[in-house]
């Protein structure tokens, strides 16, 4: 069954609380991925509006994210994918069909490949068309990602008849190309692929309690004020803790809202050096 977009790709989701609407583009992507990581119980440390590190409990494995890139996106893979000449060389060497630009015939599709599977498939209108697309086309997209050394996920643009690869974006801006529903699917897939997990569905609206510690700001009072304001905008409950060298807080509300809070603490000159977050285990019931 085809899913219908409730919001066009790249547009603001007006139904969201005003706080989350402050996040757009790569900032929103980074926040979505952090929320997905928190949802499966990982602890996160945010280092900038676009960058955070997630730690898998138990194993202690750490994964880094910047925009929609992760520690599985090698520099070399990204550089080959972004350069049209290099990309053609790599794809041709692996026997992957390359589409001419502009492509003749066929249907232009954007396929987000994560690992060895297609996580989302949309057409030029941003509609989810996964169930209308032939397996051969999906295999073409996954083969394209496999053909480039050091690439674990990427947005593959397929076009032409017969289908060929027209472009590969190793760091797609999910919030520009996907509907809000599909962004959640994509964020889940990207995070869970790193941990070798498969198909763990998250309830993004489940209430959770988040512990937040912001450190390294030149002025903690500014960070406290920002924390209060953002929590109010997000409509979540905030309880500020006491501390001399950091700002600590406990936040409670829907996963999607509280997960946006760390990224919202960055902005202006007085920003924290890092924001540590984790979902309290007792509150995670029903999330994943």
């Amino acid at each position: 069954m085809e899913q219908t977009a409730t919001h066009a790709p790249g547009t603001r989701d007006e139904s969201r609380p005003v706080g989350r609407s402050r996040l757009t583009g790569m900032r929103m992507d980074s926040s979505l991925l952090e929320t997905a990581a928190l949802g499966i119980g990982w602890a996160c440390v945010r280092l900038s509006p676009l960058t955070f590190v997630a730690t898998e409990p138990g194993t202690g494995r750490e994964f880094g994210f910047r925009g929609s890139s992760s520690t599985s996106t090698a520099n070399i893979g990204r550089e080959i994918a972004k350069d049209a000449r290099h990309r053609r060389t790599a794809l041709t060497a692996a026997g992957v069909n390359v589409a001419d630009e502009p492509a003749a015939g066929g249907r232009r599709l954007r396929i987000l490949v994560v690992g060895e599977t297609a996580a989302t498939v949309v057409d030029t209108e941003g509609r989810d068309v996964r169930h209308e697309v032939d397996d051969a086309v999906l295999n073409l997209a996954t083969s394209a990602v496999a053909a480039i050394p050091g690439l674990a996920h990427a947005d593959v643009v397929v076009d032409g008849e017969p289908a060929g690869v027209a472009d590969i974006d190793p760091a797609p801006v999910l919030s520009r190309t996907l509907t809000p529903e599909l962004r959640h699917v994509a964020a889940n897939a990207l995070v869970q692929n790193l941990a070798g997990m498969r198909d763990t569905t998250l309830d993004w609206q489940a209430d959770v309690r988040l512990d937040v510690v912001a450190q390294g700001s030149a002025d903690d009072a500014v960070v406290r004020r920002r924390l209060r304001r953002r929590a109010r905008e997000l409509g979540v409950d905030l309880s500020l803790g006491r501390g001399s060298n950091a700002v600590s807080a406990s936040v409670e509300g829907p996963l999607e809202s509280v997960g946006a809070l760390p990224a919202l603490l960055y902005g202006g000159r007085t920003t924290p050096a890092l924001v540590e977050t984790s979902v309290r285990e007792s509150s995670r019931e029903g999330v994943a």
Binding site: T73, N75, I76
Partner: protein
Amino acid sequence: MTRHLTITAVRLYEYVMPMKRGFGTARGITNSARNIVVRLEAELAGETLTGLGECVPRGALTGDSRDGSWSFLLEAARRIEAARVPIAGAEASLDEIRRIMSGLRQLADKSAPSRVGKPFRGTLAGIDIALLDLVARAHRVPMSVLLGEQRHRVGVSAGTISTAKTRDELADRTRRDAKRFPMSRFKGTGEIGQDLDFLRLIAETNRAAGADKPVWVDVNEGLEPEEAREFIDRVAELMVAGRLPETVIVEQPVTKAHPSVLAELQRRANTRLAGSTRKRTPATLWAGRRSPSRWRNHGPLRLSVLADESLWDADDLAELARGGGVGGINIKVPKVGGVLAALDLATAAVANNPYLEIYVGGMLATSDITSWALKNLAMAMPRLDYFTTSPPSNVEARIAEPHLRYRDGGSHLLGDQDGDGLGLTLSLADVGPFVTRSARVPAPTGQTGDEPTPNRFDLPHLDKFGKKQLDSHLLEYEALSRGLDTVRYDPLRFAAGRRGEPPAIGFSWTAGTQTSRVSTYVTGNKQVARTMLQRAGVAVPDGRRFMLDERAEALAYAHKLGWPVVVKPQSGTGGRAVTTQIGSDHEFEWALDAVGEAGYRDLVVERHVEGVAYRFVVLRDRVLSVVYRRPAGVFGDGDSTVAELIGQQNGLRAGVQRLQTTPLRINDRVRFQLERQGLAWDSVPAAGCRVVLSTAGSVTQGGESMQVVDETHPSLLEEAVRAVRGVPGLVYGGVDFLIPDHTKPLAEQEAAICEINASPASRTNHFPLFGPARNVSSELLLDQCAAHGVAASEPTGELCLDVEIRGRVQRVGYRQWMKKLARMYGVEGWIRNTEDPELVEAHLVGPAGPVAAIAALAISGPAKARPDSVRCRHHSSPESSSGRFVIR
């Protein structure tokens, strides 16, 4: 018995001369230029003589590069030191100079990067001038007499007006010069409408001033061929309409890449003017003199296309002639490789075409040495139609005396020379503030401290690599020698895999498929890196990030930390704009300025940790290499200047210079360090005294490398491993560690990690200045192979490769280029074009090092080639047994 002059010493002074006012051409504004003074010392029958020359390296225009030209010049100086020149008759002396220069041209061909044709001409010119000056002094005649003087006076044809002038300024300058120079010359912008407007404006201004004289526009390659055709057509129309003078010169409208277009434009100009019925005006009076005979009673109107950048030597002259010829040629000494080469070229040109006009042009931001040399050349030219070398008044300082001047204030004629040779003396006091490097050959032999002997690596097949490209090649060499096939995308990126399969591993510089964009970001951002390292429990100096405009806050924080502190850019690399040991507000301000001048907007202020800089290279849980990086410095010998000691030190490091080090230079940072020690570039430090030239240990800042991993304390090795583990996704990295003593435990000293790098250079470990080499490339490659399940074999000493080069590789001299390289490196095999116009195939057989080097260099090829990819596959057995490399 024939007397011989023997060269006993060569002194070199590289300097950067600022101009008083920027000078604009179609290429942009020039505000300063780098030149090198060559001072020869010689002995003749007990008498000491000197000769002065000036190298004018100007990048692609003269086939030079900054460091390449200096290295070549040092080698050339060693070649000519002890050279003997007969002082019997002028011809015998000139023949010997020609022989010496021919040998140096061969040396230049061998020394230059493979893509550069006819290299180092601007550098060769300086040697040639110095030799001629020296020999002329030995003969006790001016240089022009040694060359065969043809005329006694030389006048400047026109003062050239820069594109930086406004329309009003152009008119004013034209008006002022109307009665002085025979012609008006200005630099074109390459914008047709504006250049035509300026042509008309100059013509009208001259007429109004009673000097209807020729106008000359130098376009400096600023037009595309189609634009140039339109420009010629419109100039011709204006001439026919009487709105421009009867003679107009258009100099080098298109690039050298269009050799046939200049001749085509000349034919076009002739055709457009052939039917003109415009009446000629009587010979014009200017400055109380009649215009030269060649502009009187001239027949048809004359629109002359003049070749400048297109003409390097006799080959280019022949090419221009084949296309139908042009109206004139500009022979520039640095462009053709010397005064003798210029004279020989002019002689050949006149012999081929007696109507071809010859012009001797000057170069921007050069000194009186070049100006006097060009004047002497002009006096000896077999034909001279135009000369535009005016006295160098637009430079901050005149470095040699006497200054070239006009005969009098209103004359275009240049003053006469007193003295033999060029009649010049170099003023060290005047050149001193602008000197960036200096060297003396033979090198000083005094005490240089208790230093170990630097390593030398005799690997000529690595000479043609750039530094980062060398790192990438070292990895590809490991891949090929271990039986993997490779695909190279560009000089810094390649992939490798099992034979017959798509490549599974890849490298961007030294970052493999395990190095992510995230870890590169974390390590590249000093504040984020510090945060991550602190989280991992690694010792890092206290510090904080500031924007460049938060100077007061940054200074207050420095006071809070307490002196000394370190200032460095937030995301800089290679030690650029890093200042350590800052001990006062004044030094702090200077350091902030250095960050701003380097183009950074934010910075980090850190507590200074006492210790020297070490680079640890970590692969997962192992430290592969520890290189001690001593900040640049020299030891005094009580006899040599600081500048000469730097030159000597560069000479000692020459064995590894092309492979990993950066030559020491006298720049603002070095002057600052010298000033801190109460020294200047020409100070003579006492014997054994260590002069500090930099406080940063980075080899790109001239630091000296010594491999010490075997003696480094295990606790320090563990700390470095912890630092790399502290960055998510980083398995291979360079850790910069400040340590007072690397043999002592971490707990017994105050040490700190100041930086971490996700793509550390390899060459420092392969080719340290001191100590044993460490093959980190091999370790990294094997690790990546293991991570991706790619089987690598034991390394082999011989390779046999099938190579496919795709892209613009046919009809660009690619096969000749590879043949030359293969023969130079002793590699056999063949190369051939294929039916696919974008594919060349080669078969390379020989020692693994040279074969892999050619395969890596193939992605660049000759200058006109644009390869897209180079694929190397192992071939089971060699096809060639001839021992040669041939073009099929």
